[in-house]
């Protein structure tokens, strides 16, 4: 009997959990005028560890979830996330992609790209873009710090869930615990 492949679902649900927790955090720190964005972390695991098909499925689903909650043209995150996914997938065989530190570096770089790309798209709407950039860099600093703190846990969470499901993230073959 053919075994169902839950890898894309595991990564999508983990991403959804992280996005929900980030939303909760942002809700509570709204009064401080600080915002945390962890988009880069949502792409890193799927792009580095999963096979291309499961990875793309997880990234597309995650991007659609993110897009539905943000006031950006629907498809903006889909484009940015899949672009990052494609770039990481293209070069991942050259790097030690199994390591958490490398995944963290990828997440940080991806987040930097996402924040800057979104800012270029959206900051023009404001009355004074120059002062908005100061806030964006402050938020980016806090977001990168949050990735450094949360990233190892989040990557380990996905690794352990794959272990519990007795499935190898890349090959999809059953593995003994």
């Amino acid at each position: 009997m053919r075994r169902t492949d839950p890898r894309w679902l595991i990564v999508s649900l983990a991403n959804f959990l992280l996005w929900w927790l980030t939303g909760l955090l942002n809700h509570h720190i709204a009064g401080l005028a600080v915002h945390v964005y962890l988009g880069g972390l949502l792409v890193a695991y799927g792009a580095l560890r999963l096979d291309p098909r499961s990875g793309f499925t997880a990234t597309v689903l995650t991007a659609l979830f993110v897009d539905s909650l943000e006031p950006v043209p629907f498809g903006t995150s889909l484009f940015l996330f899949t672009l990052i996914h494609g770039v990481v997938l293209y070069g991942r065989h050259r790097f030690p992609r199994e390591g958490t530190v490398f995944a963290l570096v990828v997440a940080l770089l991806a987040n930097l790209f996402l924040v800057i790309a979104l800012s270029f798209l959206l900051v023009g709407a404001g009355p004074r873009p120059s002062s908005a950039w100061l806030r964006i860099f402050a938020d980016l600093f806090v977001s990168q710090l949050a990735i450094v703190c949360v990233g190892p846990w989040f990557i380990a969470l996905q690794d352990r869930t794959m272990e519990l499901a007795k499935i190898h993230p890349e090959t999809g073959r059953p593995v003994a615990r």
């Binding site: 942002n26 009064g31 291309p52 793309f56 909650l69 006031p71 770039v87 900051v123 402050a138």
Partner: protein, 276 residues
């Protein structure tokens, strides 16, 4: 199968296929997908606000009887004040109606007040939004004004089945026609100056040259009545004004209410006659 040389380009081919499919997807399908994905997450977004309410409820249950009695006395005082204000309001409404009839003026827009709990605050440099726990189920409409005790909160931009999204007055995407208190000439307000760890601010443009305001002597900025907001609602305080580059008007900054960052309850004004 791809030739080995092109095998590494496969991610970009997949990306191109996804993007092309997305571009050619009909608009209706995109709208449906967006609404579906939003509604899938909505219960979770709302659930955590219900959990917070439950936490508040249980933490209030631990308060002593003395504290409750004291709070009850304070509430009784407030109720007395509001009852008096309600009577005055009724008299003023009757006076407005009398004047409208006498002068053959069109009636003021009437609203139904719909209080709603805030489920989620999302304040970034790109947007400033709230998700509230009422939507189509309470007949909320897109564009309806949202207010709180301190004045304007914002405007509803999306209405879903059980939730609605409010674009805040602090958001760079929100523009309003306003007036300086005591003046009838309209000025333009826009949100969007939200520095980290400080109170939100907005900007005001097209202020007449004879109006002056400083941080020590600010001027109250209120809604003009043009657009969806009823007149006289507080937006903020103009704290600085300087000559615009063309020299015809003044531009300045508006200090907004700090409480906008910690709102838990708002009131939606739903027009009774949306066609007016």
């Amino acid at each position: 199968m791809f030739p080995k040389r092109l095998d590494h380009a496969r991610p970009f081919v997949t990306l191109s296929v996804i993007l092309l499919a997305w571009i050619f997807l009909p608009l209706g399908a995109k709208v449906f997908t967006r609404a579906s994905f939003f509604e899938i997450q909505a219960p979770l977004v709302v659930a955590d606000s219900f959990v917070r309410d439950l936490q508040d409820f249980w933490s209030n249950k631990t308060r002593s009887k003395e504290e409750l009695l004291k709070a009850g006395r304070e509430v009784a005082g407030l109720v007395a004040q509001y009852e008096y204000a309600t009577q005055q309001n009724a008299q003023l409404q009757a006076e407005i109606l009398r004047l409208e009839n006498m002068l053959n003026l069109p009636p003021m827009p009437a609203f139904r007040l719909e209080p709603a709990r805030v489920a989620r605050r999302d304040f970034s440099a790109w947007w400033q939004r709230l998700i509230i726990r009422k939507g189509e189920n309470y007949n909320l409409t897109v564009g309806a004004p949202v207010v709180f005790a301190g004045g304007v909160v914002g405007r509803i931009t999306e209405v879903h089945r059980y939730t609605a999204v409010v674009d805040l007055v602090t958001s760079p995407t929100l523009r309003l026609a306003a007036t300086v208190e005591g003046d009838t000439r309209p000025v333009s307000y826009q949100g969007g100056l939200n520095s980290s760890f400080s109170a939100p601010r907005g900007t005001v443009d097209f202020v007449p040259l004879d109006i002056a305001a400083t941080a020590s002597a600010p001027k109250r900025l209120v809604t003009s009545g043009m657009g969806v907001f009823p007149p006289g609602l507080t937006i903020g305080e103009i704290t600085s004004l300087e000559l615009s580059p063309d020299g015809l008007f003044r531009n300045g900054e508006v200090r907004l209410d700090r409480r906008l960052g910690t709102l838990t309850e708002v009131t939606v004004l739903i027009p009774l006659n949306p066609d007016e």
